[in-house]
């Protein structure tokens, strides 16, 4: 996956780091800290004295929006703008001590859909900035189709969605020059922007879009930002980076986190182990556990084929029966395939099927372009050797279909190994339609 969300704190830090390059005529105080609990915040105040001198705003920094509507923005104790360091610390400790419910969508102020429940672990704390609604503006940029699109509005903050018709959209091809971009932006400033701010808005927007392009953001939004003469406040930010550009952006981005989103299930140790193996290998190893107690497990080679197998299982058996999704490809070594196969066999043999049926293992794949089938199957056979007893105890029927370099040997080897170990197996080559083993396995 190329586009990855980053924390608001990191987004602001990246802009602050390059501020003078993109916004030479504006000032930004960059008064912001990220903490995980109240004590960290209290300690941060020793160096960042503004934390004890100014009144504060605190909110979770965990990739989700609508924090105001979820009641997760602390900006008042008894009245707006009176939050002290002590109050912010105790609020963070309170909110991080137990799981919180968060709604991702609202109709008006009414939550819509189901809430995600998870711990809050990261908070961003900044000074409370008194300003008027007229000073709040909206700006964002992302890629739509083949173009980059800049969105600008004089209605910032929570009102931008209700007033989406007032948002100006300006599209630029990837090959647009800086001059072309600047000229087009200048001509497209929303008419509701206060006359005194028009030039400053244009200058800021040009710098913003340049930063979006040059720093390889996939999405960048400031909503709202506040313009007070040459002073800018970034009140709320959302950003995604194109992580494939990471190798060129090491210095530009600094140390940046790509956290998993709030409410996502914790990854199991098995999935983490496969991810770790994947990151160390030139080949690709992917595993997602969908329903560990389900009956049908897949061990499929190839990104496209794995999807086709999942589609077919869902069509013929329904997703209730599908335990996992995953794929291995790009010529993994024998030991990588063995590890991958053992991980799946281990998960699969932890319990018997609730209805007493045999479990099904689909070892599938299309006709490989360059992966050596016999070599990868050697790894799977070694895993069979180690798990044969458990497999027989649980009851597993194995269906194999594969083609490509050395496939005859691979198919013969796996058939012989299963027969030797007393495992049920059916083996097919390229003469059988790629997903036909799913039909055979599920209609028996």
């Amino acid at each position: 996956m190329a586009q990855k969300a980053i924390r608001e704190f990191d987004a602001k830090s990246i802009l602050a780091k390059h501020w003078d390059k993109y916004f030479p005529n504006f000032t930004y105080a960059y008064e912001t800290v990220m903490v995980q609990n109240g004590t960290e915040l209290t300690n941060a105040a020793k160096e960042k004295t503004w934390l004890s001198k100014k009144t504060l705003v605190a909110k979770p920094d965990m990739l989700f929006g609508k924090r105001g509507k979820n009641g997760l923005v602390l900006f008042k104790d008894s009245k707006p703008g009176d939050v002290s360091l002590a109050k912010a610390s105790s609020w963070i400790d309170e909110k991080s001590s137990s799981k919180q419910s968060v709604y991702f969508s609202f109709e008006g102020d009414t939550p819509h859909g189901e809430a995600k429940v998870d711990m809050l672990t990261h908070f961003i704390v900044e000074p409370f900035t008194p300003h008027s609604q007229e000073e709040e503006y909206y700006i964002s940029a992302t890629c739509v189709g083949d173009n980059d699109v800049l969105y600008m509005s004089a209605e910032g903050g929570m009102e931008v969605e209700e007033n989406w018709d007032k948002v100006i959209e300006v599209a630029f091809p990837i090959t647009a020059t800086e001059e072309e971009i600047a000229e087009k932006i200048k001509k497209s400033i929303p008419k509701d922007v206060a006359a005194k701010d028009k030039d400053a808005f244009a200058e800021f927007a040009i710098g913003f879009f340049k930063a979006y392009r040059e720093l390889n953001f996939a999405y960048l939004e400031i909503n709202p930002f506040v313009l007070q003469g040459k002073k800018v406040e970034l009140l709320d930010m959302v950003a995604k980076l194109d992580d494939t550009a990471g190798f060129m952006m090491r210095d530009e981005w600094g140390s940046v986190d790509f956290p998993t989103s709030f409410g996502m299930e914790e990854k199991s140790p098995e999935v983490l182990a496969i991810e770790d193996a994947d990151s160390k290998s030139g080949a690709s190893l992917k595993l997602t556990i969908l329903k560990p107690e389900a009956r049908v497990w897949t061990m499929v080679a190839g990104g496209g084929a794995s999807v086709v197998y999942a589609d077919t299982i869902a069509d013929l058996a329904g997703i209730e029966d599908l335990a996992n999704y995953g794929e291995y490809s790009g010529g993994p070594t024998t030991s990588e395939t063995k590890f991958y196969a053992e991980t799946i066999l281990d998960l699969m043999t932890r319990s018997k099927d609730a209805k007493g049926r045999d479990k099904v293992l689909i070892i599938g794949g299309a006709i490989a372009n360059f992966t050596d089938v016999a070599k990868t199957f050697t790894g799977i056979i070694q895993a069979f050797d180690n798990y044969a007893d458990k497999m027989k105890e649980v009851g597993i029927k194995i269906y194999v279909r594969r083609g490509g370099p050395n496939y005859e040997k691979g198919l013969k080897d796996i058939k012989e190994a299963a027969d030797r170990l007393g495992l049920y197996i059916e083996v097919y080559g390229p003469e059988t339609h790629v997903t036909d083993i799913v039909r055979m396995a599920l209609t028996k």
Partner: protein, 604 residues
């Protein structure tokens, strides 16, 4: 351009991926292409000039180049670039090739090129009307004509999937693995494919479904198309538009994989980076439904694809749109092949009669052939038929350098060895071993330094100054006794021949202006015989059309020295035979001719 590739298409392969290149050549051999599909390889870190590959049972050499510009200059006919650079450099390689021009298609294999760079690369190529296949692809194939790298897998699978000759389906997929699978399905249920492209799995790829389908619409060999899409993106809708507005009229079979994605939230990534639905319109279901609505043949599931292919094929066949195919003859690649340890490019003794660079020895040997030793040298040393003025010059050189009396170090050595009772060959080599920088080396050095001065536009005074700074006496200048007034007649002979027979002698002309300056300082600083030979050799090669680089290579590889070795061997053998006939005894050097100055070694 209605066809992506033809049987004449040749590629420059960026990165020496020997397995993939070998697969291409196996394919070429199987389908009986006349020229290999890889014309050259860019291997930036290799110091070799070529790499060996199998072509059927034999081996061929494919030239290696340091960079794309060099490769393109040497192989201007190669209009496909197969960019196998890593995700870090693939963008730069493509952009350089677009800048150079002359490529009609560029395939990019790297996965995970930064998105902005991929977009810029794709947009630049589009503006220049260059088809980009990929990034993140296994390639494309025009069966029976040209195949990119690993697409289609092993040669056995290619033949089994009928990818060795054109069928009637145009195939476009995102996935590379499923491309192979579909080729197989189409071969089983219909008559194979006419052209196929795996467009690549990254979010931003160069040529998209519609680009390829519109080309296939124009390609008369394509009778119907098969499109395999994926959940995510809106590219399939461009195809739907083209069907609606009549730009595509040929029948299309299509299926989008990833129907399962609807059951899970966005946390589960199915398949490729490009495969992630933003909104209902991008789901596989919606796309399959929309395609079906405009009359595209959409199966109920992937499992039903074979039936629908078979049905459409038989329908088109019944209508006479698809004709029966006569299976072409093919070559079979041997299963076991052994790489050759040695390479020979000058002569061949395998046939009826041994040949020198393609000429039977009998066609050169006897006087009636009109050929001399100069012709033999030109064939065996340069693999070219030099004109008579040049072969005559070579013979003149050999004759001129054949001997210079018994006192020179080589002749002396040969004589001493012969007197020790050693054989002709042993005595000869002791003589030859003295040939080097101080004996015979002036020919090489004269050619090298005079050419350098001339190439760099130095006037004689500047050249002298330059050599003074280098601390080297000018090679090829000076003689023990000869001077302008008492000229060396060997030199005069060479100059006279060159003036009469060479088309031009620019380096000699330059050397003579240098001689004017040196002789004005000292009488005997004339252009000597070594200098004249070296310089005239350069003029000969220039007149024969060699590039300056090739000539520099002749000089640095010791070719000039070789003329001296051949010539002087005649003289050395003469001295050895002379000793044998005279039956001279073992030689011992007189002690009174040696200065003995031996100190007692100090203790340290």
């Amino acid at each position: 351009m209605s066809q992506l590739f033809t049987r004449d298409t040749q590629a420059i392969f960026w990165n020496n991926n020997t397995t993939a290149i070998q697969r291409m050549l196996d394919y070429d051999y199987t389908i009986k292409r006349t020229k290999p599909s890889v014309a050259g390889i860019v291997a930036p870190t290799s110091n070799s000039k070529f790499d060996k590959f199998f072509y059927g049972p034999d081996e061929i050499m494919i030239p290696l180049y340091k960079n794309t510009a060099e490769a393109k200059a040497a192989q201007p006919q190669a209009d496909a670039l197969l960019n196998f650079a890593s995700f870090r450099t693939a963008y730069d390689v493509t952009m350089e090739a677009l800048e150079l021009g002359g490529f009609t298609s560029i395939m990019v294999t790297a996965e995970g090129i930064p998105e902005r760079l991929a977009r810029k690369m794709n947009a630049t190529a589009r503006a220049k009307n260059v088809t980009v296949i990929g990034p993140a692809t296994v390639g494309a194939i025009a069966p029976g004509a040209f195949k990119i790298a690993n697409i289609g897998g092993t040669i056995e699978n290619i033949v089994q999937s009928k990818l060795h000759r054109a069928g009637s389906c145009g195939l476009v997929t995102r996935s590379g693995g499923l491309f192979n699978e579909l080729s197989n399905i189409i071969a089983i249920n219909a008559d194979g494919i006419a052209e196929g492209v795996a467009i690549g799995g990254d979010r931003f790829v160069g040529s998209v479904f519609i680009d390829n389908l519109l080309r296939m619409q124009e390609n008369p060999e394509v009778k119907y198309m098969l499109l395999l899409g994926e959940v995510g993106g809106t590219e399939e809708y461009k195809v739907i538009e083209a069907v609606k507005d009549g730009r595509i009229t040929k029948p299309i079979i299509a299926w989008c994989i990833g129907t399962i994605a609807k059951y899970y939230d966005s946390g589960v990534q199915f398949g490729h980076a490009g495969a992630s639905a933003n909104g209902d319109m991008e789901t596989a279901e919606a796309k399959n439904r929309a395609m079906k609505e405009v009359g595209i043949h959409v199966p109920a599931s992937f499992n039903d694809l074979p039936e629908i292919i078979s049905a459409l094929y038989h329908e088109l066949h019944a209508e006479g749109i698809v004709k029966d195919i006569t299976e072409p003859a093919m070559n079979t690649c041997p299963k076991v092949r052994k790489s050759k340890e040695f390479i020979c490019t000058i002569s061949d003794d395998r046939g009826d009669e041994a040949t020198y660079a393609g000429f039977p020895i009998s066609s050169l040997a006897t006087p009636d052939t009109g050929k001399g030793i100069g012709d033999v040298v030109s064939l065996l040393w340069f693999k070219k038929q030099y004109p008579k003025w040049a072969t005559d010059f070579i013979e003149t050189v050999i004759k001129t350098v054949a001997d210079h009396g018994p006192a020179v170090s080589g002749a002396h050595n040969a004589k001493v060895t012969a007197r020790a009772g050693k054989s002709v060959v042993e005595s000869l080599v002791t003589g030859l071993l003295t040939i080097g920088p101080r004996f015979g080396g002036a020919i090489d050095d004269a050619a090298k330094y005079f050419k350098y001065a001339n190439d760099n536009g130095m006037n004689p005074a500047e050249f002298l100054n330059h050599m003074k700074k280098e601390g080297i006496p000018i090679p090829g200048i000076g003689h023990r006794i000869k001077s302008l007034k008492n000229p060396d007649l060997r030199v005069e002979g060479l100059k006279k021949y060159a003036a009469k027979c060479f088309p031009a002698t620019p380096l000699l002309d330059y050397a003579l202006t240098v001689e004017q300056l040196t002789t004005s300082k000292k009488e005997n600083l004339i252009l000597n015989v070594d200098g004249t030979i070296g310089i005239l050799m350069v003029d000969m090669w220039r007149a024969l059309g060699y590039t300056e680089e090739e000539i520099n290579e002749f000089i640095s590889s010791g070719t000039l020295n070789a003329f001296f070795i051949v010539g002087r061997s005649i003289g050395f053998i003469g001295h050895v035979l002379d000793e044998k006939r005279l039956a001279m005894p073992m030689y011992r050097h007189p002690m009174d001719d040696i200065l003995y100055d031996v100190q007692v070694a100090e203790k340290i």
